[in-house]
């Protein structure tokens, strides 16, 4: 069967939640590695901090914020589905989660630029 049966808004929300979760799981070991540099190797950490000041890295951090916000708001959306009375405005909820995620990324990028 083709992917046409998956062509609807809530499936897109599912994909965003799943893919952002996988990417964040891949990011976490790198994050912990940098944290341990701060504790055990100050020179290496300073070198990394200088590298992280590059515009492309800042832009990537913005994407990371969007992923994190997307996963957070997507999780809140699932909790609302499963623990609150049903609402028929599911597409609006998805739009709100996507909007909040991009807004958080934009706020971050505006603050660092």
């Amino acid at each position: 069967m083709s992917a046409r049966h998956r062509n609807y808004t809530n499936y897109l929300a599912f994909l965003v939640h799943r893919i952002s979760g996988i990417l964040l799981a891949l990011f976490l070991p790198v994050h912990f590695h940098v944290l341990q540099l701060a504790l055990h190797d100050a020179r290496a950490f300073d070198s990394f901090a200088a590298w992280a000041e590059r515009p492309m890295v800042k832009f990537a951090e913005g994407i990371l914020i969007v992923l994190l916000a997307g996963h957070l708001t997507g999780g809140l959306r699932l909790l609302a589905i499963e623990f609150l009375p049903w609402h028929n405005w599911q597409k609006s909820i998805v739009a709100i989660t996507f909007g909040c995620s991009f807004a958080m990324g934009l706020v971050y990028l505006l603050n660092v630029s």
């Binding site: 049966h5 809530n10 499936y11 599912f14 499963e82 623990f83």
Partner: protein, 241 residues
């Protein structure tokens, strides 16, 4: 769509050995997909196997995959599902193919039984009628899911069923939810145990494909969410085995 020649690809064979065969059918404005399949079987390919009964959207037996989506073929107008005149018709997903467009639905109905989809009466003919107020909360929750006719469309559209073969599926869990809200039923605890396992309601990812595809406009995701809440409360109260 005015009258035009349709290019129809139809799955022939079984899941292990089969392929799409192309047929040319003259389509009319008011043709349904079932009309097209019937034409092919009557005039072009007499050995084509498919299933139908009522032809008016009451029995659900003509469900097939049409241009990538599971549908009732008797209620799918060719002009709407194939405006370009191309149809690709396959059997329902997640069910074993018997031959061509006919699928084995035993597993689907076995899962209804495994979800305790059977009514367990608490009274008999000697008792007075049960008085259930039409506007009571439980009656309304049961009514929301009670119109399911077991066509298997939601089951075929569900990715979880495809990924996790023992998952009970939206139809079975929706049925269980209607019975959880049936105040006359006497198997509440048994049913909650049946739907609370690994293959039950908590396996649902709330993708809502079942809601998108249900021809009766039912909402199995809401029913499954209700089961998740009820089973979670039952766990906290120590009511599950």
């Amino acid at each position: 769509m005015s009258d035009q020649m349709l290019t129809v690809l139809v799955w022939r064979g079984t899941a292990d050995k089969g392929r799409y065969i192309e047929y040319k059918v003259r389509g009319l404005e008011n043709h349904t997909v079932l009309d097209v399949v019937t034409y092919i079987q009557r005039y072009l390919e007499p050995t084509l196997s498919y299933r139908f009964s009522c032809r008016v959207g009451m029995c659900g037996s003509c469900a097939m995959t049409v241009n990538g989506k599971p549908r009732w073929t008797c209620r799918s107008s060719v002009s709407k599902v194939a405006p370009g005149g191309k149809l690709k018709i396959a059997p329902l997903r997640s069910m074993k193919i018997i031959k061509d467009l006919s699928v084995e639905m035993s597993e689907f109905f076995d899962k209804l039984a495994r979800a305790e989809g059977r009514f367990h009466p608490t009274s008999n003919r000697q008792n007075d009628f049960n008085h259930v107020k039409p506007d009571s909360v439980k009656r309304r929750l049961a009514s929301d899911g009670i119109e399911c006719i077991g066509c298997g469309i939601c089951y075929a559209s569900c990715d979880l069923v495809a990924w996790k073969s023992n998952y009970l599926g939206p139809a079975a869990l929706n049925r269980a939810w209607t019975l959880v809200n049936d105040v006359r039923d006497g198997a509440h605890r048994k049913r909650l145990n049946a739907v609370a396992g690994d293959a039950g309601c908590h396996a649902c990812h709330s993708q809502q494909g079942c809601v998108e595809s249900c021809p009766k406009n039912l909402n199995p995701t809401a029913s499954i969410a209700g089961l998740k809440r009820v089973t979670a409360i039952a766990v906290l109260k120590g009511e599950l085995d």
